[in-house]
Symmetry: D2
Subunit: 282 residues, 4 copies
Amino acid sequence: MAHSINPEAEKLLDKEFKCLNAGFVRLIDFMGSDESIGQAARVSYGKGTKTVNEDRGLIRYLMRHRHTTPFEMVELKFHVKLPIFVARQWIRHRTANVNEYSGRYSVMKDEFYVPETGAIHYQSKSNMQGRAPENVPAELRHKVLEILTSTQRQTYAEYEQMVEEDIARELARIHLPLSLYTEWYWKIDLHNLFHFLALRLDRHAQYEIRVYAEAMAEITNTVAPMAWEAFEDYGLKAKTFSRLELEVLKQFFDPSKITKEYLESKGFGKREADEFLEKLEK
Amino acid sequence: MAHSINPEAEKLLDKEFKCLNAGFVRLIDFMGSDESIGQAARVSYGKGTKTVNEDRGLIRYLMRHRHTTPFEMVELKFHVKLPIFVARQWIRHRTANVNEYSGRYSVMKDEFYVPETGAIHYQSKSNMQGRAPENVPAELRHKVLEILTSTQRQTYAEYEQMVEEDIARELARIHLPLSLYTEWYWKIDLHNLFHFLALRLDRHAQYEIRVYAEAMAEITNTVAPMAWEAFEDYGLKAKTFSRLELEVLKQFFDPSKITKEYLESKGFGKREADEFLEKLEK
Amino acid sequence: MAHSINPEAEKLLDKEFKCLNAGFVRLIDFMGSDESIGQAARVSYGKGTKTVNEDRGLIRYLMRHRHTTPFEMVELKFHVKLPIFVARQWIRHRTANVNEYSGRYSVMKDEFYVPETGAIHYQSKSNMQGRAPENVPAELRHKVLEILTSTQRQTYAEYEQMVEEDIARELARIHLPLSLYTEWYWKIDLHNLFHFLALRLDRHAQYEIRVYAEAMAEITNTVAPMAWEAFEDYGLKAKTFSRLELEVLKQFFDPSKITKEYLESKGFGKREADEFLEKLEK
Amino acid sequence: MAHSINPEAEKLLDKEFKCLNAGFVRLIDFMGSDESIGQAARVSYGKGTKTVNEDRGLIRYLMRHRHTTPFEMVELKFHVKLPIFVARQWIRHRTANVNEYSGRYSVMKDEFYVPETGAIHYQSKSNMQGRAPENVPAELRHKVLEILTSTQRQTYAEYEQMVEEDIARELARIHLPLSLYTEWYWKIDLHNLFHFLALRLDRHAQYEIRVYAEAMAEITNTVAPMAWEAFEDYGLKAKTFSRLELEVLKQFFDPSKITKEYLESKGFGKREADEFLEKLEK
């Protein structure tokens, strides 16, 4: 097989997906496709090439059974501009390759994250690390914005002053706030990207990183649409029930009411229907 | 905190858990405990030490919400003797440290895996990579054992002959079958060990590696019993339902019938009960 | 930047590089080029695109100073057919993605590694894990080949017999020797590939894996020729001197004899010449 | 073998090594020792326990020949308090386990990095990402300190104000500068710690991270003194010469002048002496 041909994904190359007030995500390069996931899986089974339709079934089977290695055969490379506090969460994902703009080497640019007024929220009561849904009064929102932006302007001016006095850039930059923008190239395989997205598309993820995850979700869906569909069905939109929860489910739920015919009418494959019924057995 | 004190785990050190006909697993060293999982989690929350009971609740919360990094703070080191075909599956787990016996440097020992007669099965019809449950007739089982053992004896004799002729060991060893035993030291953190065990305790895992996983499960349960309990409840004994499966569940299941009181009577914590009801919302 | 264009590397796609008696390496896909190494490095410096000539200097600087992350931005995917004893060494490199032919799922093919007579050597006296350079008498070589091949034929026939009796494939395959061929897809980034090649091109590496490393070296040189040249100059053909060795070198070596002009005439860049003189300072 | 006994290292547990104005490194726990490096290496050779003296020779051999896996068998866990700009460099090392204080969950403390006046330098002319050695006039140093500290006070007061208004902590914290202190637990194996230290003890590393690396070097030297000595001799204090540099060295250097006796008088082992002479062969 030569390089994969995916005209939709090719069209996305270099396109800026704007994120927050001054950030972006761009797909810079990619390797592989739905087809190469199937191809890698088939090396395990010693079989030749198949139809596109069989690829979809195979990809869904792999995702459902957590056979993750074929998804590692697709690689995506992004160029991202993001605030440092977002970069600090992002970098915790260790299975990726990164080249970041260096504040030791270069002068940082005068660009800071400023939340839209709708993104300013109270501390959540129920979730110690989140935001409350209620609206913050306009006055307080303006006050927060005023604090953020005026100090951004001030610290950048002070940073510039130190740089002009020829103070080492690696020292001067420590003066800048976590809302400062940085940039990086970030490369990751599809399996690990799915893991990143599952965590960062979650409603418990901080709003500002979720915005990036949503842009990358759209890109990923274009690069490998069958894999994305399977990831949604068996990952993003799936739910896990604990031992205790399953006991309650089985108490209140009678699987005998559900026929295979019914399941197939709902879109289940034969094998998938069997697996479902098996899961609910008392 | 100094080294963790866990007398039960200390007693296990160096104890051989026999596996298959000539293999074993031994816990050689470990670092950390349930307590150090809590301790690492609390650095995130900036809180001091807590009671053992609070540790259990915290560990269960971490496991339920896939906050995996505190589990990485516990480390276990094993000495394992295992057949090469098992080692080949095992080594696919990349987040571990390994030192293996070298057949280039040393002469391989005359030890081979010979299945008990009960472990000899037909190819499964339903699972392309498994064994059928039916019994194989005694005659065929004996024939298989005879093939395996007589050729093991023969190839080892031929290997010895080549070694005696002073043929390079790295070459002579290629003559030996995949049933040959090897040994290694294998070190891994608790989070990645749980991942390994989830895959290798599964009924779809090959019987011969499952035997090792079961021995390691017992050891792990002793090193970090609260983490193990949480892993069972939210990992091993949990089940994931896909988007389609959830639609069917919601169709046939009326969560309004289930009160929080009922759930608490079944062992649910308050927060866990809320999370469960939320999951089943239409 | 769109997909990199490298017609020489494109021509290599799918081409079989034969290795040993029945193995091969094929480049299946790749992402990136010398240009994308420079591009990733420049994001750190906040600079725009440059000339090819500047790329070469930058790549050499990065390699010399062990700035490894830009090399991680290039990815290569190989299809490899190799004997299991080679696969066992290969898989020790953990920073790669792998999909291997499954002997649980599929019937193994009747293909075994048989060394050319020139590859049969005595055990090395000086290197406990290597081969002696002396020739082995023809008679002994024939004897070794006879042992290997006749038992390969025999065990494969016995394997086939068990498979025909419908014994589970995952069990029957344990009968086969380490000289059996397997196949896999193997994907890795350029930095980690260089690390793999440095170890496996080394004269202490086992001959049979070195053959594969040499084929992959040729492919890599085509995919990223400037990076390869830098890797040769600062990696493969470089040597490291210990603290003690440096003391002796400095005792016997007078760097004052060496002028910058002399070094530049030998191909040193200005900065590289300074760095060299600095290293040899007493 | 039971837990390693190393009274010197045990004494270090929990001891604060102060770093910068308000940071520290503490060893929280460790697993293994020089002895366990030897033990892991010996599993490869199939040999039993040895003398301490043989351990030293073996460890030096392993380090010299880049046999890195036995060093991965030792694990160290640190508690570190460090400024965020240092944490951002530190986290680039991916092969470690981390739990960090969460500014989403908890209120950040009022602690900032303030450089000692001696640490305030001009931008280096020769090294784009470093500091010049010359002293900065006292007046300018005071000005820099005044800028840093007055804005630290101001932004912390503004942060507190937002927190008191009940603005979500995850949002308020973006106001704080990169000089703010954070804390984490950080666990790593000895091989990867050596890699971290080689990069961060280097004179090109930023001064503020070097301070931490020096404290950790002292701790590591106590946990595994033989491994540390070998790391110094073959790593930290070794130098690598490129292909071109070796050509010049060989031109000006006559190894025939150096006898094995001379080398042994300088502390070389027999095997090491041979290896050195071989490296310098024309």
